[in-house]
């Protein structure tokens, strides 16, 4: 489904290149649940954002469903990612000025889906996640677990083929974390490819493959 070949990513600072990723080769197949692990500063998030087409490679190739993403300009990337990829963040990143309903609806607006269709899609997912009663609330009126639930609902409402999660349970207590991970597992079983970044061994076991990253390289 996606394939990264010989990827490099670095930042130039005062003519010194600081490498974040070095020589990464990675293949992810449709239906996988991949976990990326590694210490702070290993380049986990950068790799995730590259796969999400929100960051570009400085060197190497990145194919997504046969598309040469490394050759795409920003507009083309945006076009591809908004239909294909969903994102979940550790800090949820819900928009404070919008209600639960409106937050979930937003990706559909950018995908130019008709109003009536949007309505039924949002209602379905609210129903599925059991948060119909909360649809009129603002993010700061919800608990962390509830906010992350909304975050996931927002990430998958556009029916993406790939779901990327950056420490999705990092800010949650263990019960809430467990619930979220169960949800991911269920989504994976329903066919969504998932790649998650985590520190936690416990969360890593939900996936079916682990990639270890250290100082920008894949180890072992």
């Amino acid at each position: 489904m996606l394939s990264i070949r010989g990827a490099f990513k670095y930042y130039s600072n005062n003519f010194v290149k600081t490498y974040v990723l070095r020589d990464i080769y990675l293949e992810v197949k449709e239906g996988e649940f991949v976990t990326i692990m590694g210490p702070s500063g290993a380049g986990k998030s950068t790799l995730l954002y590259i796969m999400g087409m929100l960051e570009t490679l400085d060197d190497g190739e990145f194919y997504y469903k046969e598309n040469p993403v490394h050759k795409f300009n920003e507009k083309k990337r945006t076009e591809l990612h908004k239909h294909e990829i969903g994102f979940v963040f550790q800090q949820y990143h819900l928009i404070d000025e919008l209600t639960v309903y409106e937050n979930i609806e937003m990706p559909l607006l950018y995908q130019k889906i008709k109003s009536s269709e949007r309505k039924s899609m949002v209602c379905n997912i609210l129903d599925k996640f059991n948060i119909v009663g909360k649809k009129g609330l603002f993010p700061n009126q919800l608990s962390g677990g509830q906010q992350q639930l909304v975050g996931i609902a927002r990430a998958i409402i556009g029916k993406p083929s790939l779901l990327l999660a950056d420490e999705p349970t990092g800010n949650l207590n263990s019960t809430q974390g467990k619930e979220i991970m169960e949800l991911f597992k269920k989504l994976n079983e329903e066919g969504t490819t998932i790649i998650q970044v985590t520190h936690s061994e416990e969360k890593a076991v939900y996936g079916n493959r682990i990639i270890n990253l250290l100082d920008g390289r894949i180890v072992d």
Binding site: S45, Y49, L54, E55, T78, K82, F87, L98, Y110
Partner: protein
């Protein structure tokens, strides 16, 4: 999508109330200034455009040089108008206006003293657009003793009676028949009339002298000829017509006369140039000044710019708050264009809101503004509905002020924004700093101009004028009393609150009568220009004019009738070392006038003009226009009442007209006074807007530095040292802004002061003062916030991260 943007925008406005208020208020005030100035300028530029043949109408004028004296004028000869019409095919029609006269106009029991009365031809209705309300428009004013009156005159004279066919009496003598009522000319007309009387009533109608200039001629061209060709044809015609009479009068041909270095040309001034571009002594009625139009256009534009910059700064400064939303929207599939669109929509929304408040504000302010500018401005400046224009302006302002932040905000990288590293480390805010700098520079410039304008105005009103304008009551039209005038003066002088009284031909501020004189050393080619004044034996005392040497006129001395008193400047110009007993000669009558006294220089005209030579004639020489009365400061109203009663006893139904010398003289500088006030008002508003911006920015900086302040406090910094960190940043900008603003201010004010003959020096202290004022305002604003920030608990500040 649009709805989503709108929702976010409105919720953001409500959530960040103080930010929204600062933004909207600042923008509103800027818009108010901009629109008020815009309306004023629009009105200034609209003068005379109500005429249907606006672009084809010209006013005749003259350019001349005789001897040493060059001059321009707007008065032309009586036979010229009809001759132009007849002999130059490019001139369709011409009209002569003789006036303007002031007359006592009576109908039955109603007596009105009316100004702006003109004798004119029937063509006035062809040249100018003057719609009639009643009466027939066929051959108007072609019969002697007929008049057309305007609507408001008709109302005050006739009330509800139909004026057509009624008889009006002028100065209790001549009767005129009202043949039509015309609409009042709009306020943006350079001339105005109350009554137009038929020119053929006057004997001078048949005057054929091409060298006697006593009326104003307007022409309407066919539009076929170019201006310079037209002028050439007119001058050819003039030479042809004037030659015989010229030779008769001077004994030489025009050519020979011109060969001596003299000239006399006729010129044309397009109607579009009359109001704003003619020199001030060319004014028939209202007079504008294109320089003020430019000046205020610049001021209005700058104030709006300051407001827009505020908006830009505040919006960009607040980007931290919006960063997460921007990042998230990008993650969810928004492209940059969509983000830019969203932010532009937000700024347009704010701009529209600001416009609504601005329009409400202007509605409330307009009556005062109109009163102040003596105009009848309305928000509906462009016909029936100007509101779409304001709508478009608001959108435009929204786009301009939101443009920068929209582009800047939408360029954020998703990863940096969402990882929260956007605002870590040193920031490069070059563009924003430049904007703040610019804002300060404009504020300093405006403050500087205000200080200097006010100083100059103060200087003018406190300048020693050489005569005493206080408690000087001047009765106008004293000549009406004829031989009763001495009786009037006598009676009034007896009153207890009257110090002295004097009948005079002219008073300071009303001097316009000049003449040429020769020295007594037999050099007829050396001509000296003098203004001529004349008052009775009490003139110098009543006016408070000081005698420097020699004596006043003696009532008993017959020989004094050919004596004169001159001023110091005249002595200097003539080069007389011992002036008493010397003579000046009238080159026309060859009469010798002996100088018996010299008065100290006094300002007989506006302080724009330098003092020039003056000659005071013997009291019996000329008629008396005014009675000047020096009164005690106590019970002024009672004194006026007394004078008025005496007037009515002697003058019958003639209205009593008077003025006070001090306000009359101040009126000479009205345009400058008004400019001064204009400056002060708009300067305070500009400063207000700039302060709002500063407050917002300082608040943001303080918030951004919360962490730095926290760390410093943990490390032992005092509140004072923290406040000084924040202050230093702003002080630097203010000082830099001064360096930019001073030379510009110096240049502008220098050239403005050049227009005054008597002016203040551009003192360094004005510049320093303007800088200090700005600094003080900036420091006060920032200190308040800085102290607040510095007093926060450092633990809280650090946990916030």
């Amino acid at each position: 999508m649009f709805k989503n943007y709108l929702k976010i925008a409105i919720r953001n406005l409500i959530r960040h109330k103080s930010f929204s208020i600062i933004n909207i208020v600042g923008l509103s005030v800027g818009m108010i200034c901009f629109i008020l100035i815009g309306l004023w300028i629009n009105d200034e530029l609209s003068f005379d455009k109500y005429n249907e043949n606006y672009s084809q109408i010209y006013r005749m004028g003259t350019d001349s040089k005789m001897g040493d004296q060059e001059g321009t004028g707007i008065y032309t000869a009586t036979p010229m108008g009809p001759a132009l019409m007849e002999e130059i095919p490019e001139i369709e029609t011409a009209v002569r206006l003789k006036g303007n006269y002031e007359k006592l106009v009576s109908f039955e029991e109603t007596n009105l003293l009316l100004t702006d009365i003109y004798y004119t031809d029937t063509e006035v209705f062809d040249v100018f657009t003057i719609p009639l309300i009643s009466g027939s428009n066929i051959d108007l004013l072609s019969r002697p003793k007929t008049v057309v009156i305007n609507q408001s005159t008709a109302k005050s004279l006739f009330k509800d009676i139909d004026p057509i066919g009624k008889m009006l009496t002028f100065d209790n003598k001549t009767e005129y028949e009202v043949v039509a009522v015309a609409k009042d000319l709009p306020t943006n007309s350079h001339w105005d009339f109350t009554i137009l009387a038929s020119f053929c009533t006057l004997k001078s109608y048949n005057d054929t002298n091409w060298l006697s200039y006593n009326l104003i001629t307007y022409i309407k061209t066919t539009g076929a000829a170019k201006e310079n060709i037209l002028v050439e044809k007119i001058n050819d015609l003039f030479v042809q017509k004037a030659e015989p009479i010229f030779q008769q009068a001077l004994g030489i041909t025009i050519k020979d006369w011109e060969a001596q270095g003299n000239y006399f040309y006729l010129r044309v001034t397009p109607l579009s140039k009359i109001y704003l571009f003619s020199p001030s002594d060319d004014a028939l009625g209202k007079k504008g000044d294109i320089r003020y139009v430019y000046l205020f256009a610049v001021i209005g534009f700058f104030i709006l710019l300051v407001a827009c910059i505020n908006f830009m700064n505040l919006t960009t400064a607040r980007s931290a708050v919006r960063a997460k939303e921007i990042g998230m929207r990008k993650v969810l599939g928004s492209n940059r264009k969509q983000l830019i669109r969203q932010f532009l929509l937000e700024s347009i929304l704010i701009s529209l809101l600001a416009m609504v408040f601005a329009l409400i504000g202007i509605k409330l302010l307009l009556p005062y503004f109109n009163n102040f500018t003596e105009k009848a401005l309305s928000l509906n400046f462009a016909g029936n509905n100007s509101y779409p224009i304001y709508f478009v302006v608001a959108i435009f302002i929204g786009l301009i002020s939101g443009g920068y932040s929209a582009v800047a905000l939408s360029s954020y990288k998703v990863l940096t924004v969402l990882k929260g590293s956007l605002f870590k480390g040193r920031q490069k805010n070059g563009f924003r700093n430049a904007l703040v700098l610019f804002q300060f520079a404009i504020s300093i410039l405006v403050i500087l101009c205000t200080i200097i304008t006010m100083q100059q105005m103060n200087f003018i009103s406190n300048k020693k004028l050489g005569f005493d304008k206080e408690q000087l009551l001047v009765v106008e039209r004293a000549y009406i009393l004829k031989d009763q005038l001495p009786v009037f003066k006598e009676e009034i002088s007896k009153h207890s609150t009257v110090i002295s009284a004097s009948a005079a031909f002219s008073v300071p501020g009303s001097c316009s009568d000049g003449s040429m004189f020769n020295k007594d050393n037999n050099t007829p080619e050396e001509l000296y220009h003098f203004y001529r004044m004349c008052g009775d034996y009490d003139y110098l005392e009543t006016m408070g004019i000081e005698l420097k040497e020699g004596r006043e006129f003696y009532q008993t001395n017959e020989a004094d009738k050919s004596s004169v008193i001159i001023n110091e400047t005249a002595v200097k110009d003539l080069g007389y070392t011992d002036p008493i007993g010397r003579k000046i000669l009238d080159p026309g009558s060859k009469e010798e006038l002996t100088i018996i006294g010299v008065v100290k220089d006094f300002h007989y005209n506006s302080l724009r003009d330098e003092i020039t030579p003056i000659v005071l004639f013997h009291p019996d020489i000329w008629y008396k226009e005014f009675l000047a009365i020096k009164i005690q400061p106590e019970n002024v109203a009672g004194t006026i009442e007394f004078v008025k009663d005496k007037w009515s006893e002697l003058a019958g139904n003639q209205p009593f007209e008077y003025f006070f010398m001090d306000s009359y003289f101040d009126n000479l500088h009205k345009a400058e006074q008004r400019t001064g006030k204009f400056f002060t008002i708009f300067a305070s508003l500009a400063i207000f807007i700039a302060c709002l911006g500063l407050f917002g920015l300082a608040a943001f900086t303080a918030e951004q530095k919360t962490k730095e302040i926290g760390v410093r406090k943990v490390l032992g910094a005092s509140v004072t040292s923290i406040v000084s960190i924040l202050l230093r940043q702003f002080t630097k900008w203010v000082i830099l802004a001064n360096i930019i603003a001073w030379p510009i201010g110096y240049y502008i004010m220098k050239s403005w002061l050049q227009t005054f003959a008597y002016r203040i020096d551009l003192n360094v202290s004005y510049f320093i003062l303007s800088g200090l004022i700005t600094l003080l305002i900036a420091v006060t604003t920032v200190s308040y916030l800085a102290i607040n920030a510095a007093n926060k608990n450092p633990v809280k500040a650090l946990n916030y991260e």
